[in-house]
């Protein structure tokens, strides 16, 4: 065991001036990420932060870790290469909704399917900020932007649905304004072996201000969100008296103490259930009829790709009688010329 050193958030902070717009949700996310890293205690030199392109993808420059600001959409592929090459590193992927789900959609679903042990921080502001305001693959139907002056005529991706469709093993969600929940889910994501996707609903103060305020505003947040914790009752509301139950195959919000509903009737969150049916139902709640779920929604164990590659290499190298190229070549079909 390596000597366990205590780290603080400052150890993960670089000397670079942070250039996001004042009021941007990314500021709090980078701070929370540094705190999460300090909590995890993985040394900065064993931490790698990989990003694509977009506002959020500037993040690696602000981290005093190993970092790589790559090209649009490809962070997942680069991160896959880093982790497969050296599974001892803790690898974070920072992406926005455009980077991760539009141009990078293919790499995203395949990294989730493979279950490579990387932690994907998906900052979702439902807009392209760096190119100054076009609709993204998570923008709602009818959304008016510079590239959709008459409104979009297409439906958005719901990131959780993609993760489940790709048979993901870890999905969590938080809001840029929910600092403690964000820190909690980032720590859990890093501890999970496999692809961990953390969707952070983030505000773009310039091009899409208040896009998440229906759930994020302090005034409504307690009633329109639910913080899920593994093994705990699914309770929410500013008076902590609302809860979720199953009505047939559907989730339903109820009030404890009304219509004969007691605390015993309320569902207990099981993030570790291999069956993802309930996880998906929880993740699809949007704050309107049912509260938006934050916290770790799914967290199941499955073989991680990087470990499997390493295991297979170890297994097959142990089985063969040769251990160098020359030994291998001499072991094959040869003839001698004298």
């Amino acid at each position: 065991m390596e000597e366990q050193k205590e780290y603080t958030a400052k150890d993960y902070k670089s000397d670079q001036y942070v250039r996001w717009c004042p009021g941007c949700g990314d500021h709090s996310i980078v701070n929370v990420l540094q705190k999460a890293m300090a909590t995890l205690g993985i040394p900065p030199h064993k931490t790698v932060v990989i990003s694509g392109i977009g506002c959020s993808s500037r993040l690696p420059y602000y981290m005093n870790t190993y970092g790589f600001h790559t090209i649009h959409g490809r962070a997942a592929a680069v991160a896959t290469g880093v982790k497969t090459a050296n599974p001892d590193l803790t690898v974070w992927q920072i992406s926005g909704d455009g980077d991760c789900l539009a141009i990078g959609g293919n790499h995203f679903i395949h990294s989730v399917r493979r279950n490579i042990d990387i932690n994907v921080v998906l900052m979702n502001n439902k807009i392209y900020g760096l190119t100054k305001g076009q609709y993204s693959p998570t923008s709602d139907r009818g959304f008016v932007t510079k590239s959709s002056p008459y409104g979009t005529v297409e439906d958005p991706f719901i990131p959780a649905e993609l993760v489940f469709g790709a048979r993901g093993t870890f999905f969590a969600r938080s809001l840029d304004v929910e600092l403690s929940v964000s820190q909690e889910v980032l720590v859990e994501a890093a501890r999970h072996k496999g692809t961990s996707v953390v969707e952070l609903l983030q505000n773009c103060v310039i091009f899409n201000n208040n896009i998440h305020s229906y759930v994020a505003d302090k005034e409504f947040r307690a009633d329109r969100t639910i913080h899920l914790r593994h093994g705990e009752k699914m309770i929410f509301g500013k008076d902590n008296n609302r809860g979720l139950v199953l009505d047939g195959y559907k989730l339903k919000a109820v009030t404890i103490g009304e219509n004969g509903v007691t605390l015993d009737d309320i569902l207990v969150h099981d993030a570790k259930s291999p069956d993802n049916f309930l996880h998906q139902s929880l993740a699809m709640m949007d704050g309107h009829d049912l509260p938006l779920a934050i916290g770790v929604i799914r967290n199941v164990d499955a073989p991680a790709y990087d470990q499997e590659v390493a295991r297979q290499v170890k297994e097959v190298t142990a089985k063969v009688p040769y251990h160098s190229l020359r030994e291998f070549l001499l072991n094959g079909e040869t003839w001698e010329v004298k």
């Binding site: 790589f68 592929a77 190229l325």
Partner: protein, 615 residues
């Protein structure tokens, strides 16, 4: 029937096996070339297969061929065949043009019924005449029937029996060239190690084919090949793609770095992925990813993490990897990109060969984006050039594109297994402990090369990226003068590599008036043509390029030495136009072929002779 068999002593012969793509012609050809190599011949082989995996039986689209050139002075798989084996009329028709005048054609007479002729679109009942093979010595052999008779008691079903025909043909060809059957049986036994009954049947049929030739004393010339004098050592038979994979493993051993391959299947490059995937047993991490872009990007990630990182592809895949290669240029990470060129543009002719990706490799990226471009010249040279590509990438912190092609990638030769001491050490440009504290990621040494700090190393945390960086601080910069300085530094780094490259060597007759210039996979044909001309008293000089960017240091001096320089390539003149830009004012003659086929030695000799006569 007792006409005495004439025995011809030849220095080299070319045999072409052809049949339906399910007829096992590649296997027959492979065994024949291996057996020949085993008795000391130089060998060169080339498969010619259709893009369709199984076209309808007996049709022209489904014909698969395998050409073997054996003997001494063998540098190519040969232009024309001394012997053609045609298992059906379609094979006869598509391969007739490859038969030498007076050559031998062995055919399975049982598959030349009227209905077979019709499938191959013959209009008359005389396919020999119609295919223009009246000049050839035709040996019709009822192969199918004899195989059926021979295996009547074998217990195998009819389909399995008929599939043994290729071994009858192989046995007959072995008799023709006096090849011992023991080695062929040994190879066959390995092939069918898990199916002893199938092995027994094939081995029996092969002996039948051999004995048949012996017994009928076929009234054709038999040949005896003079074995070549080759360097003593342990040999194996290798194709270019496999040699490429092995060269990378050698570089991994010499550099002490784990080898990583990120790849996506694409013809004709996939065998590199196959071989490296198998070589997980030597510790290689070869992964198949979701697309070509992920191939290059996982490799870039692995390089950042400190591996010898490689991606392999063909032309369309190289196009998809362009942006990734640009990132490796900008972040100055070592990366080897292998392009096994095929006929283009677009999907083009996937199973055929061409040299049409040269300009794409040199320039196919946005911005001023210099990369090292090298090219392999023969199947076995793929080993050396893959090794050199890795060495340059690791020591100079740059992407290197290695160009091979379908011809040398699939073609094979005998290769002496080297002692690894014959290859130089590879010393990556790592950060040094004394740099700790003051080091910035874009600091450069005197060669303009930046230093490599692997994640996991304490104190050297740093951030790379595709954005332009400041010369001094390595932070993001849009300063105009800084950008220009960085552009020049990246160019200088690549240019400086010329100092480490071997000088060009003039072959043939250096005092000749005419200089032949080639690059990459055309070496064997050009060399053979140059040898033939000089032997015939027609002096020509020859230089061949393995290093394209940068060019060897003496390139300009040599090319300016000759009044007439003809650049020969399988494209519309890409290397010639590149050289024109590098050597201003110099005029280059061009000889170009864009048929997605290799050169033929004969056409080169003819063309150069014409050029000499014009003098």
């Amino acid at each position: 029937m007792a006409e005495k068999t004439k025995v011809k002593v030849l220095e080299d012969v070319v045999v072409r096996f052809s049949g339906d793509s399910g007829d096992g012609m590649q296997l027959a050809g492979n065994i024949f070339s291996n057996v020949s190599a085993g008795v000391g011949d130089e060998i060169s082989t080339f498969p010619d297969y259709p893009a369709e995996i199984r076209a309808p039986q007996g049709t022209l689209g489904g014909v698969s061929g395998f050409q073997v050139h054996i003997g001494r002075g063998v540098h190519t798989p040969g232009d024309l065949a001394d012997v053609l084996v045609a298992m059906n009329p379609a094979a006869l028709k598509t391969n007739a043009r490859y038969v030498k005048r007076g050559g031998v054609v062995i055919l399975d007479s049982d598959s030349f019924r009227a209905s077979d002729l019709e499938k191959a679109a013959f209009k008359t009942d005389d396919p020999i005449q119609e295919a223009g093979l009246s000049h050839a010595q035709v040996v019709p052999v009822p192969i199918t029937q004899m195989v059926k008779d021979s295996l009547a008691d074998s217990g195998l079903d009819n389909k399995s029996v008929v599939r043994c025909k290729n071994m009858f043909a192989l046995g007959l060809v072995c008799w023709l060239f006096e090849r011992p059957l023991e080695q062929a049986q040994h190879l066959l036994k390995n092939k069918f190690a898990k199916k002893p009954a199938i092995y027994e049947a094939n081995a029996k049929v092969m002996r039948d084919g051999y004995n048949y030739g012996n017994n009928i004393h076929a009234s054709v010339s038999t040949y005896r090949i003079e074995s070549a004098q080759v360097r003593p050592g342990i040999y194996t038979d290798v194709n270019g793609n496999t040699a490429t994979a092995w060269g990378l493993i050698a570089a991994s051993e010499k550099s002490g770095l784990p080898l990583f391959l990120g790849s996506y299947p694409i013809t004709p490059a996939t065998d590199i992925l196959h071989e490296l995937a198998k070589r997980k047993d030597l510790g290689v991490k070869a992964i198949q990813v979701e697309d070509e872009i992920a191939g290059v990007c996982t490799a870039i990630g692995a390089s950042f993490a400190g591996n010898l990182a490689v991606t392999s592809t063909s032309g369309p895949g190289l196009a998809l990897k362009s942006e990734g290669i640009g990132l490796a240029v900008m972040s100055e990470l070592p990366l080897v990109v292998i392009d096994v060129q095929r006929g283009g543009p677009s999907t083009g002719l996937p199973t055929k060969t061409e040299q049409t990706d040269l300009l794409q490799a040199l320039y196919g990226r946005n911005g001023e984006s210099p990369v090292v471009v090298v090219a392999a010249s023969t199947p076995t040279n793929c080993f050396d050039m893959a090794f050199q590509a890795a060495k340059i990438a690791l020591e100079h912190m740059t992407p290197v594109i290695l160009l091979t092609d379908g011809f040398i990638g699939n073609g094979s030769s005998a290769w002496r297994i080297p002692d690894m001491d014959e290859y130089p050490e590879i010393k990556p440009n790592y950060v040094k402990p004394e740099q700790l504290g003051a080091w910035k990621p874009y600091d450069r040494d005197e060669r303009s090369v930046r230093f490599w700090a692997k994640p996991g190393t304490e104190g050297f945390m740093h951030r790379l990226g595709g954005l332009e960086k400041d010369w001094k601080t390595s932070a993001i910069s849009t300063d105009p003068a800084n950008h220009e300085k960085m552009v020049r530094a990246r160019q200088q780094k690549v240019d400086n590599i010329a100092r480490d490259l071997p000088l060009l060597n003039v072959q043939g007759n250096p005092d000749a008036e005419l200089l032949i210039v080639g690059w990459g996979g055309t070496y064997g044909h050009l060399y053979s043509a140059v040898e033939a001309l000089n032997a015939a008293g027609k002096p020509v000089a020859f230089v061949h390029f393995n290093y394209i960017n940068p060019l060897p240091a003496n390139t300009e001096e040599i090319l300016r030495r000759y009044n007439r320089v003809v650049v020969c390539e399988l494209n519309n003149g890409q290397f010639a136009s590149y050289l024109s830009g590098k050597i201003p004012g110099k005029t280059f003659l061009r000889y170009n072929k864009v048929q997605a086929q290799p050169f033929m030695v004969s056409e080169l000799v003819e063309h150069f002779t014409k050029l000499l006569e014009e003098e």
